[in-house]
């Protein structure tokens, strides 16, 4: 079946730099996208979401960009901190699937000092 995938399994960035985590989705019917952060030993934590009628949404230190033309989603983290070290998942819900989320494989973000 169709799934949401990620380009890089591990991303290493230096503290203070900006991080960009990418995600490709294949289902053209997807209209809602979420980014989650999962720290070791914890459940996924909601970070930010975006609907398909938008191409950019900003939160606190995070920005999600959506390019529907190429079915690409990205999460930008500004001024990355050690506490940002975690696995990041993108997920999508296609229209009419009653909120069933399809998760990507995950990207591990390692912040170096």
């Amino acid at each position: 079946g169709e799934s949401v995938g990620l380009h890089l399994p591990t991303l290493s960035v230096q503290e203070g730099d900006n991080s960009i985590i990418n995600c490709a989705y294949s289902n053209s019917a997807s209209d809602y996208f979420i980014w989650y952060k999962q720290e070791s030993g914890k459940g996924p934590q909601f970070i930010i979401d975006i609907r398909s009628n938008m191409d950019k949404r900003q939160g606190q230190r995070v920005t999600v960009l959506l390019n529907k033309t190429v079915k690409h989603l990205s999460l930008q983290i500004a001024a990355t901190q050690p506490g940002d070290s975690a696995v990041y998942f993108c997920a999508d819900t296609p229209t009419g699937t009653a909120s069933k989320l399809t998760f990507g494989t995950g990207t591990r973000l390692q912040v170096t000092l």
């Binding site: 459940g43 997920a91 909120s99 069933k100 989320l101 998760f103 494989t105």
Partner: protein, 113 residues
């Protein structure tokens, strides 16, 4: 968001036995879900827990193996039956509050010997 708790947080079980995992939410929610996260992998939806009726299972998951109850709008249980080492995973419940946003509990870490 919502405060979601799960019991137990972790357990070690013998093969052939069953374990019931509880999920409690601090507010009434329309939709609750159960996910499995195998070691080092992404999340896979097991089923949607429906209040007052049978759960809706995803492909590859069956009621005999993963019976689910949802007696009210704040509580659900997932039972992992006749366990084998392949069932060693993190089991997560999630709830949908507004739109399609889902929030996750802390997870139950299960090891089957």
């Amino acid at each position: 968001s919502a405060v979601i708790s799960q019991k137990p947080s972790r357990d070690i079980c013998q093969r052939g036995t069953s374990l019931t995992i509880q999920c409690q939410v601090d507010s009434q929610v329309t939709m609750m879900f159960w996910y499995r996260q195998q070691p080092g992998q992404s999340l896979t939806l097991i089923a949607t827990a429906n209040q007052g009726s049978e759960a809706t299972y995803e492909s590859g998951f069956v009621i005999d193996k993963f019976p689910i109850s949802r007696p009210n709008l704040t509580f659900s249980t997932l039972t992992v039956s006749n366990m084998s080492p392949e069932d060693s995973s993190i089991y997560l419940c999630s709830v949908r509050l507004v739109y399609e946003t889902q929030y996750f509990g802390p997870g139950t870490r299960l090891l089957v010997l």
